[in-house]
């Protein structure tokens, strides 16, 4: 049998069968999480608890998209961390500015009272 290197430009022989089980499983999870979000949107009253559930479900969805679809889970550790650490800092900024927004709201409403 002829030896094929990685740079063998001419496809020879059979094309392997598709391995799509994991892809469809991830799709199922994403659809289920989205459906759950809609269910909660119409059955639960708006409030901090509902928002917390939405954000947690969103983070789960983000994990599956990035880890499986974007294949980050299967990259080297250094690549994974160099993406996650800067993103974590942005999330921190987001939380900090949300708190700041409520403070700003509190101050102006109390000021004009």
């Amino acid at each position: 049998m002829a030896h094929h290197t990685e740079n063998d430009f001419h496809q020879t022989g059979e094309i392997p069968k598709p391995q799509t089980k994991a892809i469809w499983k991830t799709f199922g999870i994403l659809v289920a999480l989205t459906a759950l979000e809609f269910l909660i949107a119409f059955t639960m009253d708006a409030g901090t608890a509902r928002n917390a559930i939405f954000i947690i479900l969103t983070l789960f969805k983000a994990f599956y998209i990035v880890a499986e679809f974007m294949h980050l889970k299967h990259e080297t550790k250094s690549l994974i961390w160099s993406i996650i650490i800067p993103l974590a800092l942005v999330v921190w900024l987001m939380v900090a500015l949300l708190a700041e927004g409520s403070y700003y709201y509190e101050s102006i409403t109390n000021y004009f009272k």
Binding site: N7, Q11, I15, P18, F69, M70, M94, G101
Partner: protein, 248 residues
């Protein structure tokens, strides 16, 4: 020589580009860091959204009695409740649910195209790229409708203190609530839509190249993989936009 230049093996020496840090090719690595910087941009938009929303009065009354007012931030379910072909029917979030499903589906067909590329299966890559292009175009069409509806407004509009009514939305005034609400809708979904459109163009180019056998000749489908990374990122952003703009 002239025919073989594009087919030559890549340089293999450490200082000739043969060394791949983090075991990812240059193109893939740069795509990752571009996406990271893009995530900062979208993060900034969502931060501004959160700040603006918290700086406005929330609606405190019964959800059933909700009316549009510049006094408070609107409830998303009451704003986004229209569906093409069902004029005047209250279908909260139904259309955005459809859009979300279309984008998730397009992400799946994209990852299937990447998988087919790993197997050097040209026909499968073509098939799945074509599905992705189709779903991408459908999503863009849906967003165009959503924008058109948002700009035109509802039949009732919003009653102002002087008795006049405001219909639809623009950057300075809108019938749904504070001006910032419409501004942020246009900026966030518009910026996302621009990304989808860019990705869609890239997909078209990849599809034409695949049909012409460019990647088959090159020996790998890494270009499809890189465009796939971008496309999944666009889907990821939508997941966040969907949660923060439409659900919360």
């Amino acid at each position: 020589m002239s025919t073989s230049t594009t087919l030559e093996a890549p340089n293999s020496g450490t200082w000739d580009g043969g060394n791949e840090p983090m075991k990812a090719s240059y193109g893939k690595l740069m795509m990752w860091f571009f996406l990271l910087s893009d995530a900062f941009t979208f993060g900034a938009f969502l931060i501004v959204y959160g700040l603006a929303r918290h700086a406005h009065m929330p609606y405190t009354g019964e959800p059933e009695a909700f009316t549009f007012s510049t006094e408070w931030w609107p409830i998303p379910e009451k704003v986004f409740n229209a569906f093409p072909g069902f004029h005047g029917v209250d279908l909260p979030l139904a259309f955005v649910a459809l859009m979300t499903m279309i984008l998730i589906l397009s992400s799946v067909t994209m990852v299937l195209a990447v998988e087919a590329g790993h197997r050097m299966d040209k026909n499968d890559v073509q098939k799945w790229l074509l599905w992705t292009i189709l779903f991408g175009a459908t999503f863009l069409g849906c967003q165009a409708w959503e924008w058109a509806h948002f700009i035109t407004g509802t039949d009732e509009g919003m009653l102002l203190a002087d008795g006049t009514r405001v219909f639809g939305a623009n950057l300075t005034v809108n019938q749904y609530g504070p001006p910032l609400f419409a501004d942020l809708f246009f900026f966030i979904t518009g910026f996302h839509g621009t990304h989808v459109f860019t990705g869609w163009i890239l997909l078209l180019i990849a599809f034409i190249s695949t049909v012409n056998g460019v990647y088959q000749k090159r020996g790998h489908y890494e270009m499809v993989e890189k465009i796939g990374l971008y496309w999944h990122f666009v889907d990821l952003v939508w997941v966040f936009v969907f949660t923060f703009f439409y659900l919360i």
